[in-house]
Assembly symmetry: D4
Homo-oligomer: 251 residues x 8
């Protein structure tokens, strides 16, 4: 029931004013006391639920997953520790976990993978962030092509993969240290590139600041950047872009 | 002629080895001495040429625009000063200029505008960056909806425009000072949002750093960020995304 | 005895000069060797004592609480670890502790709660800071309304609570990551808003710098900011403001 | 007409649905094309309008003041240059300007000044920021006591003014360089202190960063901070606090 | 033997050229392989040896102290851990250790304490740094007056001690958080003040940066600053200044 | 009349209470409206007056110098522009100005120069800061030895001057760019060294930050640092130290 | 087989097009799934393989060393933990490890050491970085002269070693804290100096930032800088320069 | 005459002690009052003189060039303004100036250019820095190959020049914005690469910080970095390396 329907119901005396007010207030989220689950966003975006697990107590997290399991509702958790996984698994045995990318998910129906998102990394140390991005994109229905360890210090490795990269609707370029991968890739493809700086490195890397600034300052066109180590954010936006490529948008 | 054709020609003795080597070297750009015009990128991306005017001497810029005019080729210049515009205009009278967004362009054929990109600003001072973004998106064929001065300090202004914003294939959210617009918008729409921090503000704004960090740290999903004041970068990527929505991509 | 009375006493030879000098020196604090307890502040501000427990040795802390217990004097400690609590409890069994907000207090007489302070958080991870703020405000006599997990990425959650928030004499807005909550709230209410950035987040959050800069740069009116994670500071100032609302001030 | 009345009107068929929707959209601001004047805020806060003049074109500013003059409406502009003042004065001769504090205002009815706000500065170079703060507080109805050049490097100057400072409902402490004034004042009074760092200084001052950090890190209680040089923000919040002291708030 | 004597020896054929060269090379330090002990500095400065223990292996440290013990030579070590102390003590039982200030020393003859250095702290958490400073000054022959917990948030505590502070030849002012103590003290005394910022604090303190900037930007006269937590550096320089006051210098 | 005398006067009814209170308030400074001249400091420190001219209006500055001239009182102004000098000179013709060091002073009686302060610079571009330091030290009665352009990149230049440098009671080491001069000098002399970083340099110098950090981190002993370009601060503290060497202090 | 030979083969029908394409793709690296070993670089640079061990899992590292051992191929690993060493040693017993410099290597044939690289440190705490640099240079065939603990705070230690330092083809200057060693050395020798800032220090050292900025801002000629603690990078580049000195280059 | 000869002379009574002392003091530089010209460095390095013109007064600069002209001595000035050039030219008409690179030089004998240094830029805006580097290398006898506008956003431009770049003894890679050129080039060649970040860019470029960090963090081997915009430093070190390649060094 949308707002127009609501107003119509009020006009036709099918809905009284108090109910209309209450509905408007309670619609968009479920208040669990310690947090407010945002069901509204799912309706709005057509995308399943996600949970940022870092910093949540095990008790809270178990309750959240239990609640999704009872609703037979998909959910993707990110930044989940192994301890969190094990605690949830005891109560919700069907929960799945990927240790590399620290993702923790329930998937009740299989989603067909469509389109294509390419996930590139500069080095092998960037793979955890890449797996978070890749899993997120897959959770939201993307076909994902992982192309790892193609950093610019040995540019021929990347060049030999260009055709594959160009095939994707959206490219995620993940790199730490100098972070130059994003700009070089954006210069080689015609699809949008989402750059993810990682905190891999030491010294004047300043925990990813170096790669972040490199990506923000790239003179290549068709590139934007998310927070350091934010594989989830890149995977989410890539899924939005991929969906436009698969389903089309406003003409 | 692509590389496979080239190799075929070599095999069939239609192309000798020296020519093949020379072709591989000279293909992708025209060397003008002081710069290398990248025609390769245009073929690759299907997007017209662009020129970053800032810091270029008037002499160089006039030569570049003259060369495009002779080829009857479209070109979009960004960060052009009025003095640069006037110098180019003397030699290429059909050049057009927008003082607000500092864009300088030649458009020989009319491009049909399709899809939709929404360009939002937090305040009126952000409009120059917004006009750079909007013009860029239009240059690359997007229908653009400008929605200015809808910053979060008076959230009702933004809320009253939500339906319009949701209609777009891609949203550009431009804001200085605290830069919270990007995250709030991304929480309200299902399409990708490109956030542009601006250098508007003073004090602990640190020339846009404040807005940049806000946007990078947003916990809203579906948001990525470009450099401070980089309206062009946002407009370009929005056009890539919009094209996916209009033409579709890999299914 | 104030300074005027002291001078009168000297004039009337009721107080000799050495005593007057000594009094002026010893009045305002009690020197415990390792620290100087500031009783003067309590007289001055009408507010009970507070102790910043972080970094204090267990021995020192026990002595301090013992001394307050002997005087039947209220005291509020902040940033107290569980180990500190347990050590104090052995000697002063009536001491109370809140693990979430890390506050440790003695309250000998019940203080009536008056006025109202609203304490808002952007997410669930901000709750420890919020509990420090809320407990501090309560300790100083405020009625507190906790409204948690209403961050701007899902703006409808906040909007549904606006009436409640507007009722307060003072609002504390606590948020990490992008920290936009402060500015959005200040744009919605007519009472002063104290913004508390938290260190929740990662990457370009830089341990709370991002939220701090957002709050300092907000273009909303009626907003000021305290140090990162400084729930106590916000609670204290909110109590000062609330007291003005309850008791009135200079007309 | 509030939302409940609106819904009642819809129920009673006095208001049709399209009108109700339009009303909800157009209510809160007047769209002038280049900006959206927020009348809603005035109703909400009971405070007159304000305009941030910096960066606005002379043409836009003249139109804005003209519009207020026609409505016989008060308005306070901040960060106005002398050139802006002169341009506005030609069209709206009754406009007033303070060059020191760069404020530009229309005041049609005289507001009675009540309560008291003390405005302190560390040095003489901080006076422009202080005048912006003082004028803002006066515009919103505060009696203001200016106490300038009482920085902590000569602490006796401040100590001799303590009684005056304690009389105020709210204190604004403005200082550049080391910025220690805020913490020292907060240690001496029982009312809330709003600290304003200024950009006065050189070298490791880093344009006010030094004073800002000092104020944020003060261990004095009852202190919060606004952006560097933000006299307006301090004046506004001080007026909110002063109003609570004069009118009382929620008991 | 100084260089003039050496040249004289060479001229008189009492010293051959190879020896002269060797002497010039080997004079100023003893090469222990893993480090070069700088005996030259002791001769030059008239001050005993010091060792920075942090990061040194236990084996190296034991050898160093053993070597000093064999020479019956005083030595002061700073930043020594308790484990280092215990290891040294097994081999050199007369070594002394102060856990609070982390100093580890051998003192074979008693040095008469002369002059006076006042060591002030803002809070109790600054005491470890203060003890490092005080012990260093004492090791180099200063009478030291410790005045702790006199931070500016309760300015009366400091004011009541002003006479004592003024008596010293040199004042060391140690403070974390806002770090305002240095400037306030320098405004109250006529002797040089050495300010030591400490890393005490949290949030926008940035590990002592806040206090460091405050001290560097103080507008008080007669103040200079050493590195964050560098009690040793302050104690050393205070001893140099105190020696000038006791022994006099160039007239 | 000191406080003890005052209290005696009150006891003996020679001074009434109101007068005593007024005296205590008015003693330490002269309020000129726009600023408070701190005569108290002069009495306290035995040092003449100083004025920081930067940012002061010409009108105010002329008034201040006129007031000193009428009192036949010495004064030293720093950071004075040539325009300020010329304006003051019209009213006070005996004022003197040094363009290099931007100092502006009145000296009614000649002060005998005693002791010695050595002022060293790394390069020629550091000379303006050096002249501010040197003039300040001279104004306060120091004999000054200028040793310029002895930076560490050509270490032999410094080494050839070591004997001269060692003769001074206090050394001021001024350097920009890498700022290594301070530490090298402190390693060569036994007197206190005050390091002044300058803003000379470019790029990763960050306006003097590089030299500032170098000086703060020096592992040489007997070194402290003042703000970037703060020649005055160094000269003042050097004069305090030099005075101890000349007059002696507490034994 | 180079590209010209390949094209010749295609022309002569000795190589078919598919093979040519495949060759071009597969040539430069071996894809091990989790990483791509870059054999191309070895051919290109004439230098043996290197592996950055930090962050690699033990399983991956063992596989990599096993693969090199099977090929009887030299390899140098850097930033290897002792645990990594022990795991590799179980499978590849001939592997060698240096705990100080954290290097882990296989060397099947002995390389003659030629030329000379001097490796200097400011203090003893810089030795781990120095050993990484020295071992790297040796691995690539350099004779290495280690000159440790010659920091500028005791400049005579360095001066007595100048002749030795001047003999080298390339100098590596390693220092933490103030980092002045690089500039002083470059001022004393005529060969290129590579400066390595280390993270040794505390407080305003900011984990090596201080030394890094010092080195970048040195006004000495013939100096360039690598990342903080990057001994490997300095050793590698020194080996390239040393090779030019030994073998000669383009005349 | 070297030090051994000097000592020999003293031994043989050919040189008396006073003269020997004086010689040792006066040898290495000429004191011009305002600066000390370092002739010693020239002898030491075999390289001609250089002068950093920025910030020098016209009077001083004219005197310096006049002095070199009288000695018929070559000199290279950097960062010279056109005004400085014109002033010098009036007195020394044979002086030459390059406006692009801001170099100002006297060259009395022609130096044969040998070896090869490749100077690459990412964009056209980097050319001024490149010309400073190229001219410096040429002044010190290098053959220079300029390869401009080959930034990584269009990687094919660089790839087509790889053979040329590999030919050089040393490569200088100059880039602003993201600064990725250095790492990509170092991955393609076997000779040392000196990276020069430039201040070209805007926003999160922070005046070259972005490019600087990128270069310092490159994971490519054989790369070191100089200060932002420091073309001179790169040219000087490249000349040192090139000389090793041409003349050979220690075997």
């Amino acid at each position: 029931m949308n707002v127009q329907e609501l107003l119509l119901g009020v006009q036709q005396n099918k809905i009284n004013i108090e109910d209309a007010e209450a509905y408007l207030k309670s619609l968009p989220y479920q208040d669990m006391g310690f947090c407010k689950l945002d069901h509204h966003r799912e309706l709005r975006s057509g995308f399943g639920e996600t949970v940022y697990c870092s910093g949540k107590t095990v008790e809270h997290l178990v309750k959240i997953y239990e609640s999704f399991a009872l609703r037979q509702s998909n959910v993707l958790g990110t930044r989940a520790t192994k301890a969190q996984y094990e605690a949830v698994k005891e109560v919700v045995p069907i929960v799945e976990y990927d240790e590399m990318g620290r993702t923790l998910w329930l998937q009740f129906e299989n989603i067909e993978k469509t389109g294509e998102v390419a996930v590139l990394t500069g080095g092998t140390s960037d793979i955890p962030v890449a797996e978070e991005a890749a899993r997120t994109a897959e959770y939201f229905g993307c076909r994902v092509n992982r192309i790892y360890d193609v950093g610019v210090a040995g540019i021929h490795r990347l060049l030999s993969k260009v055709d594959e990269v160009r095939r994707a609707n959206c490219v995620i370029a993940i790199a730490g240290m100098e972070g130059a991968l994003g700009g070089v890739v954006a210069g080689l493809v015609e699809r949008p590139v989402i750059a993810v700086p990682t905190s891999i490195g030491y010294g004047a890397n300043f925990h990813g600041l170096s790669a972040l600034l490199t990506m923000l300052n790239s003179c290549a066109e068709g590139l934007s950047t998310v927070n350091i180590d934010n594989g989830f954010g890149a995977g989410y936006m890539a899924a939005q872009i991929n969906r436009l490529g698969v389903e089309g948008g406003r003409k």
